[in-house]
C-alpha cells in the first residue's frame, strides 16, 4: 500500500521501542531449550549422576521418582539393563547435537554451493544439477539411510553420511531459487558492468544475500535431522549400543511401553522438545529477518 510505503522510509530513523528480544516467547523458550541441549552435550560427565553405559541389573526397571516405587536415586527411573534414564538422556544430547551439527554443516555447504552455482551459471549445468537434486528429493531419506547403514555397518559416521547423502537437496533448491531472483537484481548487473568475475559475484554479492533464508532452513532442519537419526536408531540402523542415543532409547522401551513407560517416554520428550524448539526458532528468525529482505 502506498501509504505504508511512505512510512517505512521514516521509521528507519526511529530507535526501535518494541519489546526487547529477551522477552519474546517465541525466541526465549526455544533458545533456553537448545542451550540446555548444548550444555548437556558439553558437560555431560559433570551433569549426569551415573555412567550411561554401565549395567546394574539389580536396579532394573525402576520407575521415576514421582511414581510408586521410585526414588530420587534414579530421578527418571532405569531401563531394562539398570542404566539411569536421566544420565542417558543427558548423554544422548551429545549424539543428537553432534550428528545434527555435522549433518547441517555438510548438507548446507554442499547445498549452497550447488544452489548458487546452478542458479547463477544456468544453462546445462543448471539442468544437470537440478535433475540430480530432483532425484535426491524424490528418494525416501529413511530408506536410503537404512541402505547405507546396512552397507557400511552401523556407526556414528554411517549415520552422518547416510543423512547427508540426500539432505543437501532442499538447500540446493532453496538457494537456487534465491540466486535466480538475485541474479536479476540491479546490483548484480552493476557488478557485471564493473567487470566482476562470476566467481566473485557468487561469493561477494549472491552468497551474503542468501544467508538469511539459509539460516532459517538450517534451523528448521535441526529437528528433522534429529528425528531422522532417532528413526534410524529406532530401526536398528543407527549408532550401536551401548552408546546412549535418544532414538535407541525409544526403541529399547517399545516392548515394555505399558509397564515401563518411562524408558521410551523421557527420551521421546527430549526429541519432541528439541524438534519443536528448532522449528519455533526458525520461524522467529524468519520473521525477524524478513522485513529487511523486502528492501531489495
Amino acid at each position: 500500500m502506498a501509504a505504508i510505503r511512505d512510512f517505512t522510509i521514516d521509521n528507519k530513523s526511529l530507535r526501535k521501542k518494541s519489546r526487547p528480544v529477551i522477552l519474546q516467547p517465541n525466541f526465549i523458550i526455544p533458545v533456553v531449550i537448545l542451550t540446555l541441549l548444548v550444555i548437556c552435550a558439553i558437560f555431560a560427565p559433570l551433569l549426569a549422576p551415573y555412567n550411561p553405559t554401565v549395567n546394574s541389573l539389580k536396579d532394573r526397571l525402576l520407575p521415576p521418582f514421582f511414581a510408586h516405587g521410585g526414588s530420587t536415586a534414579h530421578f527418571l527411573g532405569t531401563d531394562g539393563f539398570g542404566r539411569d534414564i536421566l544420565s542417558r538422556v543427558i548423554y544422548g544430547a551429545r549424539i543428537s547435537l553432534s550428528v545434527s551439527m555435522l549433518v547441517i554443516l555438510i548438507t548446507a555447504s554442499i547445498g549452497t554451493i550447488v544452489g548458487i552455482f546452478s542458479g547463477y551459471i544456468g544453462g546445462r549445468w543448471d539442468s544437470f544439477l537440478m535433475r540430480v537434486t530432483d532425484v535426491s528429493l524424490a528418494f525416501p531419506a529413511i530408506l536410503i539411510a537404512l541402505l547405507m547403514a546396512v552397507i557400511l555397518g552401523p556407526s556414528f559416521w554411517t549415520v552422518v553420511i547416510a543423512i547427508s547423502l540426500l539432505g543437501w537437496a532442499p538447500y540446493a533448491r532453496l538457494i537456487r531459487g534465491e540466486t535466480l531472483r538475485l541474479r536479476q537484481a540491479d546490483f548484480v548487473t552493476q557488478a557485471r558492468i564493473i567487470g566482476t568475475s562470476p566467481l566473485r559475484i557468487m561469493g561477494v554479492h549472491i552468497f551474503p544475500n542468501v544467508v538469511n533464508p539459509l539460516i532459517v532452513l538450517a534451523t528448521m532442519q535441526v529437528g528433522l535431522v534429529i528425528l531422522t537419526e532417532a528413526a534410524l536408531s529406532y530401526l536398528g540402523a543407527g549408532i550401536p549400543p551401548p552408546t546412549a542415543s535418544w532414538g535407541q532409547m525409544v526403541s529399547d522401551g517399545r516392548n515394555v511401553i505399558d509397564t515401563a513407560w518411562w524408558i521410551s517416554f523421557f527420551p521421546g520428550i527430549a526429541i519432541g522438545l528439541v524438534v519443536l524448539s528448532g522449528n519455533f526458532l526458525g520461524d522467529w528468525i524468519r520473521d525477524k529477518l524478513d522485513p529487511r529482505l523486502r528492501q531489495l
Binding site: 548487473t189 552493476q190 557488478a191 558492468i193 564493473i194 567487470g195 566482476t196 554479492h205 544475500n209 529487511r292
Partner: protein, 326 residues
C-alpha cells in the same frame, strides 16, 4: 572538429522468439534496428523515447550487457566490438561505467558503502586497501556525502543520497563515459535538481561524457548537449539540444514535446497545440512497413506507408528521418 569519444554505428539487436518444445524460432523482437549516434568528449547525449523504443537496450549494448546482432561501437577511434574479452576488460570496461535508475536496488544491501564504492577498484586494479580507502573518501567528498558515513549500509541513506553513492561508484575508475539510465526518475521532485546539478558539476570538473536514457524531456533539455529521439527501435530525430527543442521536425518529437510541455489551461493557443496521438506504440515484433510511425502520424502520406524514410540533414547539427523532409 568535434572530439568524438564513442560512436554507435548501425546498432542492431534482435531477440528471437521461440515456441514449442523444440524452441523453433517463430519471430524476432526488433528491439534496436539500425541506431547510429555519436557522443562527444565532455558532453551529454540523451536517448529519449517511450517504453519499447529500444533506448535501454541500446544503453545495455554500450555497457556490453547485450551482444549486438550487428553494428559496431567505435570507442576513441577503435571498433571495440572486435576486441577480445581480455582487451575489453582492461581497455573498455573501466572507461565506461554506469549509474542505474533504482537507487534502492543498485547496491548490495549487505555491503557497506565503502566497499560498494571501492568494488570497481578491487576488481580492476591492484591498489592496496589504504589506497582504495583514500580514493573512496575523495569520491565521497566529490558527491557531497559526509566522510563519517563511510561505514554505513545503503539502507541507512535516503534515495537521493544513495544515488550520489552510485555516482561515486561510477567515478571510481575515472571513466570517460558514464551511462545514466533514468538517473532521477525514481527520486523525489525536490531531490532531482540536487542530483542533476551534481552531475553537471562533475561533468565540467572531470570532462566526463554522459549517455543519458530518459523519458522526461524537460530533464533531457536541462542535462544534454545532444538529443536522439527513439521510436520503435530507431532514431527518428537527432540533433543539438537547443536546435531540436526550438525547431522540432519529426511529428513524434512534436507530440512528445506537446505531452511534456507545462501548458496551463489558458495557454491552449500556444504555437505547439495539444497534440494527442492515437493508439499506442506497435509491438517491436511486428513493426509497421514503411515509416514505423505512420500508423499514429496525423501527417502521414502515401509514401509513408510504403517506403522507409532516410535520415536527412536539416540545418546544422540536426537530422530527421521523415518523408516530409525528403
Amino acid at each position: 572538429m568535434a572530439d568524438i569519444l564513442l560512436e554507435g554505428r548501425d546498432l542492431v539487436k534482435h531477440y528471437p522468439v521461440t515456441k514449442g518444445l523444440l524452441q523453433r524460432i517463430v519471430g524476432w523482437v526488433r528491439a534496436v534496428d539500425g541506431v547510429s549516434f555519436t557522443i562527444e568528449r565532455g558532453k551529454t547525449m540523451s536517448l529519449v523515447g517511450e517504453s519499447g523504443a529500444g533506448k535501454t537496450t541500446t544503453a545495455r549494448a554500450v555497457l556490453l550487457q547485450e551482444t549486438l546482432t550487428s553494428g559496431s561501437i567505435i570507442f576513441e577511434g577503435t571498433d571495440i566490438t572486435k576486441w577480445s574479452m581480455a582487451q575489453l576488460k582492461t581497455g573498455y570496461r573501466p572507461r565506461v561505467q554506469a549509474v542505474q535508475q533504482n537507487p534502492w536496488s543498485s547496491m548490495n544491501p549487505r555491503m557497506r558503502i565503502r566497499d560498494v564504492i571501492a568494488e570497481p577498484l578491487v576488481v580492476n586494479t591492484k591498489q592496496t586497501k589504504q589506497q582504495n580507502r583514500e580514493r573512496v573518501l575523495e569520491l565521497l567528498d566529490q558527491v557531497g556525502i559526509a566522510r563519517e558515513n563511510i561505514n554505513r549500509y545503503p539502507h541507512e541513506f535516503s534515495g537521493g543520497q544513495r544515488q550520489r553513492i552510485a555516482v561515486a561508484r561510477a567515478l571510481a575508475l575515472k571513466p570517460s563515459l558514464v551511462v545514466l539510465d533514468e538517473p532521477v526518475s525514481a527520486l523525489d521532485v525536490s531531490i532531482r535538481a540536487q542530483i542533476m546539478n551534481l552531475l553537471k558539476d562533475l561533468q565540467v570538473k572531470h570532462n566526463l561524457s554522459y549517455l543519458v536514457i530518459a523519458h522526461n524531456l524537460a530533464t533531457v533539455r536541462y542535462m544534454s548537449h545532444a538529443v536522439a529521439i527513439m521510436y520503435l527501435g530507431q532514431i527518428v530525430e537527432y540533433g543539438e539540444t537547443e536546435e531540436l527543442f526550438k525547431n522540432p521536425l519529426h511529428p513524434y518529437t512534436k507530440a512528445l514535446i506537446s505531452a511534456s510541455m507545462l501548458t496551463l489551461p489558458e495557454d491552449e493557443d500556444q504555437e505547439l497545440k495539444q497534440i494527442i496521438l492515437t493508439g499506442e506504440m506497435p509491438s517491436p515484433l511486428n513493426p509497421p512497413l514503411g515509416c514505423r510511425f505512420h500508423t499514429r502520424c496525423s501527417e502521414a502520406g502515401n509514401t509513408c506507408a510504403e517506403e522507409v524514410p532516410e535520415l536527412h540533414t536539416v540545418g546544422t547539427q540536426h537530422w530527421v528521418k521523415c518523408h516530409h523532409y525528403d
